[in-house]
């Protein structure tokens, strides 16, 4: 089992959508106390179609292991332009197939932290 595939390491070293948004619609940060990983996320919505609110901009910040950071980087790419309903439906399997690796239960927490943060974030809207 090699978790550290080039794609993961690439996202870890050059995270996509890393940073902050000016005047975000919602912002949330969470820590995984087991390992000290920390992920924060901010979003800005596209609100021109009230029936289908979609994600316009998304940024994340934080620190942690390669798995949590790469997961956040890939997730932010994946959800841009998606509706809130679609994001709510995302689960463990989606993250695992996105990462393309198998994870032990302890590391699963690292991989799922960004999704937890995002899903908590949209409840704050």
């Amino acid at each position: 089992m090699n978790l550290y595939k080039d794609r993961i390491l690439d996202h870890y070293r050059k995270p996509r959508n890393f940073g902050r948004i000016v005047k975000p619609d919602a912002s949330y940060e969470q820590e995984n106390s087991f390992c000290g990983d920390r992920i924060g996320m901010e979003i800005k919505l596209l609100t021109h179609n009230p029936k289908l609110i979609t994600l316009g901009e998304i940024k994340f910040w934080g620190e942690g292991c390669a798995i949590s950071q790469a997961s956040a980087s890939m997730l932010t790419e994946k959800v841009k332009g998606k509706s809130l309903g679609e994001i709510k439906k995302l689960g463990k399997e989606d993250i695992l197939s996105m990462l393309g690796i198998e994870l032990s239960p302890a590391r699963l927490k690292c991989a799922l932290l960004p999704l937890e943060v995002l899903q908590k974030l949209i409840t704050l809207l």
């Binding site: 089992m1 090699n2 978790l3 550290y4 390491l9 070293r13 106390s33 087991f34 390992c35 000290g36 990983d37 920390r38 620190e63 942690g64 292991c65 390669a66 798995i67 590391r107 690292c110």
Partner: protein, 412 residues
């Protein structure tokens, strides 16, 4: 150095292979491996006389009672306790701390009281005191560490922090992260000089398994440790306490053999240790712990210490050669136990531990239940290796090789 080859043959788990490769166990601070002798002792209890103690007049129960009390005696002499009555069997170090914080704390702490703790404590020797202080409106103060990870306990510092209001100081003997060996005897003496009524509680979870310990020499009032970190089974630990505070403390839990007389209106309680051992105890665990004590005595605690000192010294030197690697805690091996926490820049501790796991190197990554210490060090997590009687220099070489491999993967 110890005859590690012979010692290793006593540990069945070291014969186990994962992915065709042997284990390199570097996490004895979390829990040690168990020798066959310990497993057999517990097996013998369940096979030959697996019944309750104290209550039966029949032969089996008498045998079980004898074996249980013999284990207590063994533990007492192992730590230099003058009487086995001062040795209370609990589940683990955490329960021992909670016992004192609850039973002694509820009776002795009030709004005017002060409790002292340190920033290097494991959560187990910190949370019960923090909560006690909170519940009672008492004040809790902390001893800080210096650049080297050593407690700031010079007289001037203690003079400033220990007062006539201080009821208890709770501190670890050996830090489970920094490895720092705290000078308990000197601290006890200094504290009692300022306030003779201040009790000293020692978390010895990382010292009793690794150093020769004499509770009388340490001058403390309470000392706690776990069986599973000293080659013994899980679910058994020890609270040692001086007779006086134990006599004055109310029970911690009620029921079972902890009574003298029970009437519908009132109850009188047994003396220590029975007073603090409510319900059927972990009989097999105590017997297993007794066997672990025998094993360690046969090896000799001076030899255990010497062996770990050599390994720690070697590991510090080898780790010191790796670029961008930071070791936390005292620089000299003789000032620390056989535990080393470190970080490699550019690699998160979890990632490093995961890569090392590919070669069956078992070590810990995270905060090691010492979050305030990590905050004090300004880091979110660390990697930690720890040694025991079965570890070898070759295993440290493999660790170094593994770290270099991880640096290559992460290109740092």
């Amino acid at each position: 150095m110890l005859d590690t080859q012979k010692i290793r043959s006593d540990f069945p788990i070291l014969k186990r292979k994962i992915n065709g490769k042997l284990l390199i166990y570097l996490d004895s601070t979390a829990s040690s491996l168990k020798p066959q002798l310990v497993l057999s002792a517990m097996d013998e209890y369940y096979t030959k006389f697996g019944v309750n103690i104290f209550r039966g007049l029949y032969k089996l129960s008498q045998e079980a009672t004898e074996a249980y009390e013999e284990a207590r005696q063994k533990v007492a002499s192992f730590i230099g306790s003058q009487t086995p009555k001062e040795v209370i069997f609990v589940r683990n170090t955490t329960e021992a701390v909670n016992l004192v914080a609850t039973a002694w704390g509820m009776a002795n702490i009030d709004k005017q009281s002060e409790i002292i703790c340190t920033v290097m404590e494991h959560h187990s020797n910190f949370l019960p005191w923090q909560q006690l202080a909170k519940n009672k409106g008492a004040r809790i103060k902390y001893l800080d560490i210096d650049q080297d990870g050593k407690l700031k306990t010079q007289n001037s510092k203690l003079n400033g922090i220990v007062t006539r209001k201080t009821k208890l100081i709770a501190l670890t003997h050996v830090s489970n992260v920094l490895g720092t060996i705290n000078p308990i005897r000197e601290i006890s003496q200094a504290v009692k000089k300022i306030n003779p009524d201040c009790l000293v509680f020692v978390d010895a979870a990382q010292s009793v398994p690794h150093l020769p310990i004499d509770v009388c020499d340490l001058g403390c009032d309470f000392l706690a440790f776990s069986g599973h970190k000293m080659l013994g089974p899980v679910g058994i630990g020890v609270l040692w306490g001086k007779k006086k505070p134990l006599d004055e403390m109310p029970p911690y839990q009620y029921g079972g053999e902890m009574i003298k007389d029970v009437f519908l209106e009132q109850t009188t309680f047994a003396e220590s240790p029975a007073k603090f051992e409510a319900g059927t105890p972990n009989i097999a665990g105590a017997i297993g712990l007794g066997a672990a004590v025998s094993y360690l005595q046969k090896v000799g605690m001076e030899n255990v210490r010497k062996h770990e000192l050599l390994l720690t010294d070697y590991a510090l030197k080898q780790l010191g050669k790796i670029a961008n690697l930071t070791v936390y805690g005292p620089k000299k091996a003789e000032e620390r136990g056989g535990v080393i926490a470190f970080n490699v820049s550019g690699i998160h501790p979890h990632d490093l531990a995961q890569i090392l796991d590919e070669d069956n190197l078992c070590l810990r990554s995270g905060q090691h239940c010492a979050m305030p210490l990590h905050q004090r060090l300004g880091i979110s997590a660390s990697c930690r290796v720890s040694f025991y009687v079965y570890n070898t220099g070759e295993e440290i070489d493999k660790l170094i090789k593994g770290i270099k491999k991880a640096q290559k993967i992460f290109k740092v």
